[in-house]
Amino acid sequence: MTIDDFSRPQEYISPLDKHLGSIIRQWAEKDVMPYRRRFDEDWKDHKIIEPAFKKLMADMGLQMCLFPEEVGGWGLGHSNYTATISYRMFEEIGRADTAMAVAFGVTFWPLTAITVEPHVNMRLCKEFASMFNTDKACFAALVMTEPQGGSDIENIDLLKGRTIQTTAVLDGDEWVINGHKLWPTNTGGVADLLGVVCTTKSGSDDPTDFALIFVPSTTKGVTQGGPYEKAGMAADKNSDVWFEDVRVPSWYRAAGPVDDARCFEEVISWGQMGSSAFLTGAMMNLYEILYKFCSEKTYNKKPLKENDAIAALLGRIAGDLDICRVIGYQAARMIDRPDMYGGRGSRQVVSKIRNFKEFIADRAVENFGKAMDILGFYGADRAWDIEKHWRDIKIIQLWMGGKQLCQMEAARYFFDCKTL
């Protein structure tokens, strides 16, 4: 029994799965896992973290994978397996470090709005491919959250962008952007390209006014703060971002009126699917560590795994992972096949995937916590590599509106609630 024996719906697996999965696994085992115990103290500087990113994204070239082949990319954005192959990649990185997985995943997040069928925007693809086609790690960020109201902006179904305070005004052929954002992954000076959620009309809930505009981080008027100190996820920097009369070309808007809002709804599905993959990846690593610990350590003179009561806990943890993987890949499949499951930004798909993610996050939080207790005196010890995941995955549970927003979306969809 290995981590590869946990269930996945065989029917959904991408033809690239085996190859890509294996090269990322090699990278993770060689370039990340031996160093990850020191990541926490590297949260500000990324001195240990950066080389691993460079290898993955630039040297191995993965930062180009979503771009169309025409602009030098790998063309994953127009396959029928974009999400499932992403899931596998995210899992493999998440197994080593979920913060690296999110920094990697978020780079593609705003890019889905211009690289993935049916939203391919060749002009922007070309423009930004040149930015990513480099020998340095190149990151993007999706800049959403604002000081007031936390995840109100992700709560798009209810609030429809009404609370967005960051404005974009068209001045000739340029957008002029003003606003203050918090918390985006890959800020704190990391990202080269920002996908900025803003409104063309303050207070409006008309989808035509919702805008997703790309802003290179070097643009005048863009200021990123220093990274926040957090309980975990050192490889994911987050900071304030200020936009002060920032000017970008008018065609830097991702898809235009109404379509930007639609892309953003799809972004929720992508984000939750990605979160699910980070989590199942971390759980795969949990399984490996527990397997070792519980085979070597004893209670009552038997290996822990041979004690029926402890085995029941282990069985539950492994069993949950088996279920979570099936559910996680189902989420990816729903994104890959709108023809079978409905549009990836539809209420139906967004709500279902949010529900899947909430479920997986709850199982992960529960099981990592339980695992630390199984390790007992060693559970909180950095050297056993569980406690770091435990801190990291809690953050995954909380982001993007956390449990409550998932619950409300599920309730709204399944019970046609009108006022939640």
């Binding site: 209670y299 009552n300 009561a309 207790d373 005196f377 409300m408």
Partner: protein, 417 residues
Amino acid sequence: MRTDDLFFYPKELVDEETQALALSIRQWADKEVIANRLKFSENYRQLVENSRKKLVIDIGLQQMIWPEAYGGGFNSYKRSISIVRVLEEISRADPGIGFMYAANLSSYAPMVMKPHVDKELCARFAPIFCGKKLKTGGSLILPGAGDVHDEGGPLFLGRTIQVAAALRGDEWVINGKGLRPFNSGAGAELFCIVCAIMDGKKFKDTPSIIYVPGDLRGVKRGKVFKKTGLNADENADISFDNVRVPKACMVKRDGAVKGVYSWLNLCMGAVCIGSLMNVYEIIKDWVDVRVIKGKGLIKENPLDAAILAEIAEDITVSRLLTYNLANIMTRPKDYGSLEQDQVFTLAEMIGMRVTGSALHAINRTMELMGSAGYATEWNLEKHWRDVKTIQSYLCGIGADVPVKMDIARSFFDCKEI
């Protein structure tokens, strides 16, 4: 209403002197710790030492655990409730500081606690801790995981005892490798060790406690290891290589080991309650001003209010249970002694429940606070890491299974588990 009054506890059972002490600790907490938290993140170790000094030396808690002759007075099962009250207030400031004090107290318990005061041992060790110098305190070395590759010595209720002691003349010779202390391995001046006792070539069935000063030859300390929380306390693995202590350093009572667990569970429960008191303050401040959906306070949303209710409920019930245990420990005539099975089992049960409920409450609080829940700045995530570390430590090995086996033995007469 002050937080400590909002959540029911048996006030009628807490004496005035204790309440006065609790009040001065509260003042210390507010002034020395809570007001300085953002500074702490820059230079935590130094600031913790400073504030600990004010607490245990200036207020006098360090010697308080010892008999009255040494300036103490907490050294009785009759003071269980006072001890809980004091630990609550310390831990509201920093569960790590509370944890140290709680573990220190538990480590001294076998020799200091009435009705089993061991005058000889007290005379030997009290002077170390009853001066004006800040000490790390006593460290516990408890049974835990065994290793498949070792033959393995005897067990304490299924847990492997990793330290062996053999009498050579008038001395115990103590051996054990790569031991993981419960607390304070890096700096402890004294170790309270659960030892398997050699009786000829075999081990005795029941373990005993032996005290070993930390500065003896053969006591080897590993590097301080990084851990999830409780960073006020520096821990490191310990080895004993033919360490010799006088015969008198052994506590002979059979129930002494169980007694340590009773105290430990009580005290760790109290530490968690203290942490929760502060968690309540943090979330109360948050929900009193936080607006969501561009309108309305978060606390007026029924779903968020339901989560707030869960937090309040966890705190209320945990506090009641912890004081219940303390009260039961003060009444050996009604319930049996804290070194006997029934109270020992209850203590484990309540220790598990309270740490579990505390973690549940903090998790829920994080869910309400979103990113502020895990950002260091908001001071919540530290409680979360600290309480989780306590929970795992209390488990020792195999999650709650060893405790469950103890419960099953007690209530269902299981013999082989």
